[in-house]
Symmetry: none
Subunit: 384 residues, 2 copies
Amino acid sequence: MVMLGADGLGGLPLTPGGKTELETAKTPNLDALAARGIQGASIPVLPGIAPGSGPGHLGLFGYDPLKYVIGRGALEATGIGFQLQPGDVAIRGNYCTLDSNGNISDRRAGRIASDESAPLAVKLRDVKIPGIEVFVEPVKEHRFVVVLRGPGLEGNVKDTDPQKTGVSPLKAEAVDAGSQKTADVANEFIAQATKILAGQPKANGLTLRGFASRPNLPTYEEVYGLKAAAIAVYPMYKGLASLVGMTLVGKAQTLGEQVDLLKQHWNDYDFFFLHFKYTDSTGEDGNFNEKVKKIEELDAVLPRISELNPTVLIVTGDHSTPSYLKSHSWHPVPTLLVSDCCRTDGHKTFGENTSIQGGLGQFKAKYLMSLALANAGRLGKYGA
Amino acid sequence: MVMLGADGLGGLPLTPGGKTELETAKTPNLDALAARGIQGASIPVLPGIAPGSGPGHLGLFGYDPLKYVIGRGALEATGIGFQLQPGDVAIRGNYCTLDSNGNISDRRAGRIASDESAPLAVKLRDVKIPGIEVFVEPVKEHRFVVVLRGPGLEGNVKDTDPQKTGVSPLKAEAVDAGSQKTADVANEFIAQATKILAGQPKANGLTLRGFASRPNLPTYEEVYGLKAAAIAVYPMYKGLASLVGMTLVGKAQTLGEQVDLLKQHWNDYDFFFLHFKYTDSTGEDGNFNEKVKKIEELDAVLPRISELNPTVLIVTGDHSTPSYLKSHSWHPVPTLLVSDCCRTDGHKTFGENTSIQGGLGQFKAKYLMSLALANAGRLGKYGA
């Protein structure tokens, strides 16, 4: 099985009644697949709800994004490619500027530049807390990530950011007894880190936010009995795939390299998730024509995937990113499934309007994996 | 945002394969909106379920009608335009005829005429109960409404109507401890009221049914952050809108006056609900041609709404009322949503069959408000 996740695939026309990016793109290979496949419109979460990348991918992976929630800190760590382990607590950190009284004068340390802030994260690795491994990773500008690893850590701890200036950062405070140790460790981290940062012109203080345990997601092996691999370029999607137990394969930098890896590892896994970022980023940029081009690039690699003769091939996305809106949106995502038993719906092209009329109708993203497994002959009967 | 609720909008053809009322009506303005909008078929509650006005409108307003229930008494009070306050208990009353032994000889007081029964409700206002405000309002024929207002009243009290003749009315009996005070107050009301009615030729007794607290519905302001107004003609719909915190605007008697009010108050609210009754009442009458005419009247005012340039314009109904069935029905309701980012679905007309093929597909009514908010750019992303 191959699931090709074209991030933000769905779009909008620039003028009502016009064509979307996908409908504008010349996609002979998608069209050929449409002719022998079945299409539908995937609702990422619920009608009207635009998801972030976390819930968007959870849905595609078959996990109800309303039931499984990836906490802010865990998503942030995942987003920079940090491989969270069960029991880890991840925290989003912000550098701030403290005045001589220890009160916050700038909550974002003057939006310090990344090349100034990155070395600070390295310095903060000098924090030592007995029995706890502390990881500090730079993010952009005033942001960093802290991951605490050790026994007995839970993630229910309040933010230390008071959300205003003129007051000192708050102490980390546990919301429940199980998180007391995390709060204590966080306060020790803050104390040592504040000493390390003392004397910095802008970033002489810090706040911690979005404490979150690694989400407890059952793995693809456990849920589906699948040996699954993810072939992605960007850390966020590698991270999301690893949260559901997919093996991260290779270090591809281009779609072509991703398909190379797919071929190389074809016999090693039951399921491959390939992530294609640029349908989203061009949409976010509001660049209709560029998004069209990226869809055409995607189309161009399809024959190389098809020639592997996957039992089930799915082309979809985690949400729509219409260049008209320059953002993730709620619009259902055109989704195409090809197998020998998919019940072809007769469409000869693949796009937003055909998907609405497709044989899969409109369906919640979380059901796509069941459809994939069924088409692969990997689901037994329900009941006798 | 404007939501135009054409009550009972959906219909049926008189002969299989024929056209419905909406498909028969000449609706150039709806057709023009369809060409730049997206349509779908709204399922009021669940497939096969015909809702009453209460659950029908709760769904349209975005409240799951299976979760939020308006008790019979509360709906009855709302239906006559009584503005229930939190903590009120509303009760449906029936006049009955008692024989010389105090047993019921007619459960509906010989279906006493409204002009005979209405003065009785005024007499019953003489009931005085310390610490409790008692409101008595006439309804049609043998029916009236009692509202009890005061501290500590809950609505879990059994009906006093024994559902048969030859026995005396029951005592009001609390189902739980929290409703004991209500039962006591109701029994005191019954005692005093029975004295007041003594000597009436038909209506010399009464029964109480459908005890119900005002439903505890979060408001539009709380749920959606919307300042919302309702422009309705009939008390029931004003009442339903006020239960979700909409402001009732003006005293329109016609659709034209409703649109006048919309224009006058255009800058005062974020969201307007306009209710049009006559698509339902003509359906209930089984008058196909008249329902067609009412739909054409509705169509005729649309340009005056469109020229206000609403960010989102929705035309829908709370349920279908096919004149063929002369009643509310379960059939999905044609629903049209127009915005600049709605993803137009290419239909050029608006009707039952196009709505089934529309870009919104078939959806539960409770999701319509999320779609409205999304199209208005008023919903943030879910997750990061």
